[in-house]
């Protein structure tokens, strides 16, 4: 047993990215190139900033979904949760505005955060304590949240109070040194998320639970706690996205956030996170969200495909992404 002479070289640690992980970024680069060839306007700073800003909501929610999916869960309720949170937030701000003025905005943000964390906790506990498949549990809450926003708006819209509109506007339309605020917010969320997923005990446990629940359990990890927390993180991300989203629409409607869950899951899967859990890629998810928005933008800028088919193209992309994941497995 003495021939351990040549110890293999130690692996590089740090932020190094393997070829497998580079996929979404290469795809993004290719897409930018194609976009430029089709329509040089595509690469204008204005258009790029616009597109990336628009992708920010999906990116932020998808970062939360990266945790849920990496831990072996799935959250279908994100779109209707975003609509519900938006409605709750606007109702609260409109109610508070007459008495506290523009201070209603930060209060409303806090309410949005608390509510969505409660929503995430609800999803999480149904899945972990109720032992219901995440697909079914969040299919249920998806219906619940969607019905609640329809009920709250009475089928119409809840618009944000005029007195708050101007004060709130910069959260979406403002910029710092030329970089739109939603982009900065999503970058900040991604940075924090990457740290949590790759550099903390929670991140390790999250991935371990997704990779093999039994191994995690036998290693002394509380699977229920880790899973529930992933849904809570998802809730918090939905709140952050909703907070950025409110000024853009200025109102909550029953169709707010419709089909966002499709885009979110697509972004996560394109980004290299394993849909059956056990691997999470935060920056890949961000790239995935940007890719989706680029494609939608290209479809608008070019005349090849009707923009009404955007969701169809996104549906095709998620299937292709899954096929690629499957093939790279073997």
């Amino acid at each position: 047993m003495a021939d351990l002479a040549a110890a293999p070289p130690r692996a590089q640690h740090g932020w190094s990215i393997g070829w497998g992980d580079a996929g979404p970024f290469l795809a993004l680069a290719a897409l930018v190139l194609i976009g430029f060839l089709i329509n040089p306007d595509f690469l204008s700073a204005n258009n790029i900033a616009n597109v990336v800003t628009r992708s920010a909501f999906i990116a932020i929610i998808a970062i939360g979904a990266t945790f849920v999916i990496a831990s072996g869960g799935l959250d279908l309720s994100v779109g209707s949760m975003a609509a519900f949170i938006t409605g709750v937030m606007i109702l609260f701000m409109n109610w508070a505005a007459p008495s506290v003025g523009t201070a209603a905005i930060p209060l409303g943000m806090a309410v949005a955060l608390v509510t969505s964390i409660a929503c995430g906790l609800l999803n999480g506990t149904i899945v972990t304590i109720g032992r219901i498949e995440p697909f079914i549990a969040t299919l249920g809450t998806m219906g619940i949240f969607r019905a609640l926003i329809t009920y709250m708006t009475n089928g119409g819209t809840i618009a944000i109070d005029r007195s708050l509109r101007d004060a709130y506007r910069p959260v979406y339309f403002g910029d710092v040194l030329g970089v739109p605020i939603p982009i900065l917010v999503s970058l900040a969320v991604a940075l924090v998320a990457a740290y949590v997923l790759y550099r903390t005990r929670y991140g390790r446990r999250c991935v371990a639970v997704g990779a093999n629940e039994d191994v995690a359990r036998y290693s002394g990890i509380s699977v229920a706690r880790v899973r529930t927390l992933a849904f809570v993180i998802q809730g918090a991300c939905v709140a952050i996205a909703a907070v950025c989203y409110v000024p853009r629409l200025g109102a909550a409607t029953p169709t707010t956030g419709l089909l966002w869950e499709l885009q979110v899951i697509t972004a996560v899967v394109i980004g290299g996170t394993a849909l059956r859990g056990g691997r999470g890629r935060v920056w890949g998810t961000v790239a995935g969200a940007v890719i989706l928005e680029f494609i939608a933008n290209l479809m608008v800028l070019s005349d090849f495909v009707s923009e009404y088919l955007v969701a169809a193209v996104q549906g095709v992309i998620i299937i292709i992404a899954m096929l690629i994941q499957r093939m790279s497995k073997r």
């Binding site: 070289p9 005990r201 191994v215 002394g220 990890i221």
Partner: protein
């Protein structure tokens, strides 16, 4: 006992039904098997032994048509034969009984047996014909399950028999058994071996691959030994002892598989402070009123059949299953565990029997696997200390002699023995004072086994105490200071010293006799 296999065929025996000549196999340029020649005669059991990675499974897959040889020829009844797919080999009468149970659990026994070759009349499945044929086949091998039973409802041993029935369907001239007893317990093995002997009596040529050298000694007529993808030789099994087989497999003499036992007198001195005391353990459905005491510095063996409640007792202790205990004392202090994490904190480590399913993340790299149960050790203030983690891995690789091609390898890429060492290192990272090891050497080769025994021995020499759960009686007898035998959820006997023999362990594990009736009983506590 000569290596010249040509001299071994006594006059009058029929010629070989299947013969392999100078087989070689390369995978993308890497030679995993070279120059292997052997033959199988009707009515003969030909065993193939070798360490993990010696090429046994490659050889078996070549012979059964799952792989095509890079070089060399197969002869069926003296004529060259080429199998393009497994179905060709099957048509030629070669059946393979897989090591793992490959049955669809949600289907019935009969559906499983006929899967892929269903009997149909005018396009409509003839369920009755299949059921009857399945029943006949099952009866032939003495398997008592009904063709209508769902596979998920029958025992592991019966599933193995169903798998054999499936392989034997149709006329078989050659049957290849790939470690058929690996998943079975001691008393499930005998009926299976009887079936194999019966097949031999009927003139079937049998290729038998096993890690269990005692089985090989018992069954085989000839033994072919592989080492590092090459043939060491084919030997007449008569007079070939397991120890000699082991030396041929590893290429050097084995003084003993087990480390020197510690002095029993030294153990006795610490009796005042037992490491772990369990009183009145109940695990619903598995364990009834079990009490046991682990002395400090002791290796305590836990024998019994699968289902006797050994694993469940400790899963219950660690809070992995619903359970109740009248009292648990760790180094004299009353404790109760609600999770493995809390047990680890108090100094109790548990190595699962299922290293692939419950022990390691096979798709994950080595370092995250190593530290998964002890993340506090690499979490000084805020983030994970990846450099410190790499150091821990270096140390584990050195102290447990984990062989790996690269530090970046995934746990699933390690051999079984090295996975087991990594798992041991993972549990030891919490520095438990009491270590519970469930099946320490299941499915790993002799060299790694002997290393793991030495690790366990050195852990108790450091003052730790160890419980070893095992279905391999020889392992318990060779390693442990004392053996408790469980049967049907209770402790049915305690053996120590000279009373630790296979027949005593087997007797305690199977008969309702208590240890009062065991000869040479030797208990001092």
């Amino acid at each position: 006992m000569t290596a010249a296999h040509a001299a071994l065929a006594p006059a009058g025996l029929p010629g070989p039904v299947l013969r392999a000549e100078r087989l070689a196999k390369e995978f993308s340029g890497v030679r995993v098997l070279s120059d292997v020649s052997l033959d199988l005669r009707p009515g003969e059991i030909h065993a193939v032994i070798g360490e993990n990675g010696a090429g046994k499974s490659t050889l078996m897959r070549l012979l059964s048509g799952y792989l095509k040889p890079s070089e060399g020829t197969l002869f069926m009844d003296g004529a060259p034969a080429e199998f393009h797919a497994q179905a060709d080999a099957q048509a030629a009468g070669i059946a393979l009984v897989h090591q793992e149970i490959l049955l669809a659990e949600a289907l019935t026994v009969s559906e499983n047996i006929f899967i892929g070759r269903e009997i149909a009349r005018f396009g409509r499945l003839d369920e009755r014909a299949m059921r009857e044929a399945a029943a006949a086949q099952l009866a032939e091998i003495g398997c008592k399950v009904s063709p209508n039973d769902l596979v998920r409802d029958i025992s592991l041993a019966n599933r193995q028999l169903v798998q054999i029935a499936k392989a034997l369907l149709g006329t078989q001239r050659v049957v290849i058994f790939d470690e058929p007893t690996a998943v079975l317990t001691h008393d499930e093995v005998d009926p299976l071996l009887d079936i194999i002997v019966e097949l031999k009596r009927r003139g079937v040529a049998i290729l038998y691959i096993s890690h269990r050298l005692d089985e090989v000694e018992r069954l085989a007529d000839r033994v072919t030994v592989l080492r590092d993808g090459r043939m060491v030789g084919t030997y007449d099994a008569h007079g070939l002892t397991p120890r000699r087989m082991a030396s041929l497999m590893v290429g050097r003499e084995f003084a003993s598989l087990y480390p020197a036992r510690q002095d029993p007198a030294r153990l006795g001195q610490d009796e005042s402070t037992p490491a772990l005391e369990i009183e009145g353990a109940h695990v619903p459905g598995f364990v009834t009123d079990v009490s046991l005491t682990l002395r400090k510095g002791e290796i305590l063996g836990l024998a019994g059949m699968i289902g006797a409640g050994r694993t469940e007792l400790f899963e219950g202790l660690l809070g992995l299953r619903p359970s109740s205990f009248r009292a648990v004392r760790l180094h004299g202090k009353p404790v109760g565990f609600h999770s493995p994490a809390q047990a680890a904190k108090l100094g109790v480590g548990y190595l699962t029997e299922d290293r692939k399913g419950k022990g390691l993340l096979l798709e994950e790299k080595l370092a995250p696997n190593l530290t998964l149960a002890a993340l506090d050790r690499v979490h000084p203030i805020a983030g994970l200390d990846l450099a410190g983690e790499a150091d821990l891995l270096d140390r584990a690789v050195a102290s447990y002699d984990i062989r790996l091609r690269s530090r970046d390898a995934k746990a699933g890429q390690l051999s079984g023995g090295n996975q087991q060492k990594l798992l041991l290192a993972k549990v030891m990272l919490n520095e438990p004072s009491v270590l519970i090891i469930d099946e320490p050497t299941r499915g790993i080769d002799i060299a790694n086994k002997s290393q793991i025994y030495a690790f366990i021995q050195s852990l108790v020499r450091e003052g730790r105490s160890c419980i070893v759960i095992s279905s391999e009686m020889q392992e318990l007898i060779g390693l442990c200071d004392r053996i408790l035998v469980m049967r049907a959820g209770r402790i049915n006997g305690e053996l120590a010293g000279d009373a630790m023999t296979e027949s005593n362990v087997a007797l305690c594990a199977t008969s309702s006799a208590t240890n009062e009736k065991i000869p040479g009983r030797n208990i001092d506590g």
